[in-house]
């Protein structure tokens, strides 16, 4: 197997993504005495290029999908597909992150489970946690949240559809208000507010 360098991967994927390609960044990070470097490629794409880019990546080396991360950036939501190629050969693995921004008005993304079946767990999680709509997902049920969890509430959102404060249970306060006042303390009124 001929192994491509990070920049070469960027080039290949850029070609595959065409005009949907937005930006790319290669980073390195070294740890240890010998200073061996780990290499990461971050590519930001438009939604429509996700599958072509992924298909191209699969041709390079069948990638291992770590997870799909997700960030609420206010107006948009960014999905990051963390993929790994060239594993199995010491120190040569490259992390390729494909990042796709979705406007909150249209949070839909095609599934990649037909290409990488193992993405299902992650896609299901994105649906329930961030309210992403994964198109053609083979199994769209909830994964982590209880069945009685309210519809339209997404824990990872930072806007009005996030967790409302009345859903948050402050476990730590339980029983504390009944405590006797500390020695030498005066009024206990303020404490009770806690």
């Amino acid at each position: 197997m001929k192994m491509l360098a990070p920049q070469e991967i960027v080039d290949v994927l850029k070609e595959a993504a065409g005009d949907a390609f937005k930006e790319a960044r290669c980073t390195e990070w070294a740890e240890g005495v010998k200073g061996n470097k780990s290499r990461q490629v971050w590519i930001r794409l438009d939604r429509k290029a996700l599958r072509p880019a992924l298909k191209r990546l699969i041709e390079i080396h069948f990638p291992h999908l770590g997870v799909i991360s997700c960030t609420d950036l206010g107006e948009e939501v960014e999905l990051l597909y963390h993929l790994f190629v060239y594993y199995g050969v010491p120190h040569s693995e490259i992390m390729v992150t494909l990042a796709v921004s979705l406007p909150k008005t249209d949070l839909s993304i095609p599934t990649i489970t037909d290409l990488i079946p193992g993405a299902l767990v992650s896609e299901r999680e994105k649906q329930e946690m961030m309210g992403i709509r994964v198109e053609n997902i083979p199994d769209g049920r909830r994964m982590f949240l209880p069945d009685d969890f309210p519809e339209g509430v997404y824990p990872w959102r930072k806007d009005a559809t996030g967790i409302p404060s009345d859903m948050v249970k402050e476990l730590w306060t339980t029983g504390r208000e009944n405590l006797k006042p500390p020695e030498g303390a005066g009024a206990t009124e303020e404490e009770k507010k806690e």
């Binding site: 730590w172 029983g175 504390r176 405590l179 500390p182 030498g184 303390a185 005066g186 009024a187 303020e190």
Partner: protein, 133 residues
């Protein structure tokens, strides 16, 4: 057919058990009686497995030196510390503390420390022993 466990088991019959008999090898007739006897020195309690130095056990708080700077509260990952505004001292809930020791490191006055005491079960989670300060 091979059963490598059998010789191991039979061999163990002749050896000493690996159990540390804390607090007593088997249950004494009554716990209260036993504890009383231990207290009076009439019975000896087997100690737990010795803990290493620097084991992070129950918090101890030197209320006197505390200056109420709230640094400990800032780093505490478990909301185990609260400031009592009237006294400008803190109060630590042992039953909430996860023994991370972060507060002890951050305290400028060294008034927080983790001891090696860990047998702190109680019937009341806010008992005097478990609320410091």
């Amino acid at each position: 057919m091979s059963f490598p466990m059998i010789p191991e088991l039979l061999g163990q019959l002749l050896k000493k058990p690996a159990t540390n008999p804390f607090p007593a090898p088997q249950l004494p007739p009554t716990i209260t009686g036993y504890l009383k006897a231990v207290g009076e020195g009439k019975a000896t309690m087997n100690p737990p497995v010795p803990v290493p130095p620097n084991m992070r056990g129950k918090m101890v708080y030197n209320r006197g030196t505390c200056i109420g700077c709230s640094l400990c509260i800032k780093v505490c990952p478990a909301r185990a510390i609260e400031l009592v505004p009237q006294t400008k001292k803190v109060r630590i809930f042992v039953s909430q503390c996860i023994n991370c020791g972060q507060c002890t490191e951050v305290c400028p006055k060294n008034c927080l420390n983790l001891s090696d005491e860990f047998l702190i079960a109680d019937t009341d989670r806010y008992s005097d022993k478990l609320v410091l300060g």
